[in-house]
Subunit: 294 residues, 2 copies
């Protein structure tokens, strides 16, 4: 595995790869979720490139840029273990040079969910992903469905800007008890870690209520999800929304979920961590820990 820090070097190493290339952009502190993305990339392509870059432009004022967990040595080992060929960890001032003044904005999809509470976040994401796409020029790029809105925005950007790249979304990987894996879980102490289960509990409760009776209104489903979350001491709901799975527009609260289905998504602050999770109500509960939640 080559460990590369400059853009020129990356382009040269990329040019030497024969066959198809999968790309997994990350902010590092890799966990089993990331490794699943990487393995999926290697199922689809001959080679794998992973980037680790804590992108400052997607953090807002007061967010956790300075404290974002880092473990470059561990990340290198994990990438090597799954068969990654190029590990790219560029310097911040190489990525954003003087007078960097170009921004990629994806309208429409950023109006719900994390959009309003993290202004500028998705511009930062779309811009760094466009940059990395042009640097790495992969055939496939793999993203996790935990960041459902990010995935939707990157799909739209890729289509709109005519990147010749297939965007692959991978289902959420969860801890044994059902908590969605996230680098930010490490912010939690033991008690907060137990409380953090309220996200999956709320989403699963709504899923069961919907499956039990699909004629329930969106408002009723949201109330069902809200109860277990609000029952967790120290959990503060940033948002809990039921949106159209493609447009991400909030569904009419007074009606049942339509034939297009529904994505229920939430962001909850627990102590120092802002955690997100989501679940498609119109699809079977995925195999794994969510099925055995009490």
């Amino acid at each position: 595995m080559k460990r590369i820090t400059t853009i020129d070097e990356l382009r040269r190493a990329r040019a030497e790869l024969n066959g198809t290339v999968a790309f997994v952009p990350t902010m590092g502190f890799l966990h089993a979720g990331h490794l699943t993305l990487m393995r999926r990339g290697l199922e689809l392509c001959d080679h794998l490139v992973v980037s680790v870059f804590v992108n400052p432009t997607q953090f807002g004022p007061g967010e956790d840029l300075d404290n974002y967990p880092r473990d470059l040595k561990g990340d290198v080992e994990k990438c090597r273990s799954v068969g990654c060929e190029i590990f790219f960890c560029p310097r911040r001032d190489h990525v954003y040079t003087d007078h960097h003044s170009t921004t990629v904005i994806v309208d429409e999809l950023d109006r719900s969910l994390c959009g309003p509470s993290r202004p500028g976040h998705f511009e930062g994401v779309a811009t760094i992903v466009a940059k990395l796409f042009n640097i790495v020029t992969p055939d496939v790029a793999v993203f996790g469905q935990k960041d459902y809105q990010q995935l939707a925005i990157i799909r739209r950007m890729t289509r709109d800007l005519n990147f010749d790249i297939r965007i692959e979304g991978v289902p959420i990987i969860r801890e044994d008890d059902g908590l969605a894996m996230s680098s930010r879980n490490r912010y939690l102490d033991d008690d907060q870690r137990r409380q953090a289960l309220c996200l999956s509990r709320g989403l699963v409760a709504a899923h069961r209520a919907y499956t039990d009776d699909p004629s329930r209104t969106v408002r009723a489903l949201l109330e069902t999800a809200r109860r277990p979350i609000e029952a967790a001491p120290g959990a503060h709901i940033d948002y809990l929304e039921c949106v159209h799975p493609q447009t991400l527009m909030p569904l009419d609260a007074d009606r049942p979920v339509s034939d297009d289905g529904a994505l229920m998504a939430t962001a909850v602050s627990i102590g120092p961590a802002r955690l997100i999770d989501n679940l498609r109500l119109h699809e079977p509960l995925p195999d794994g820990p969510l099925r055995s939640l009490p």
Copy 2:
């Protein structure tokens, strides 16, 4: 020469080209200025791709989108005559599909010159160029210096978004009397065509004044340029500015031009046409018709 209308077909034809590829994006109604860009492309690369697409998103309300001159048959012949291999004229609804919602914004460089009078214009330009870059994937892209601000913005976008493309700027091509070539010149009747010379007259007057005495203030140089333009009946100045050649920030009017030099640029409406022109005061007057202006 292949004449191609769909993006998929373009990608296939592009993949079959061995060697380097130059790209000249245009809005059609090609003139000798465009042909110079194409020849420059073929000096630098093995193959040439030309696109003709009247991009709706770079026209503002009340601008000349619907009347923009078109001559697809003539364009095809001209491209063939210079050795273009792929002529790409996509349909508008193939370029902008439903719910197109991605925009590329280049900040800083759009604050002067055409920026304030054409809100949204450069976003439209940057977005379509980013799209075409991803569709054509050229090694070199060639643009004219008549659209100096556009060229600067595309250079910045190319650098910021890490497109692996060399941006080549080509000096302004002029009619025998000095008028900068433009597809919009065809809007002019005979009398307006004569008046249109005021742009070059004004810029050359400022150039002579600067060369004669570089200690003149920017304000004095602007006044010198303004006089011949205002003397033309029916000419309305949209802007006349003296800016830094790289940052495009207006220079201090009370001081002489600094060592960084100065670009003087103007937009003038004459009848139905909004014409633009520019000249670098700190460089020798280019060979050609400007030298013999009275």
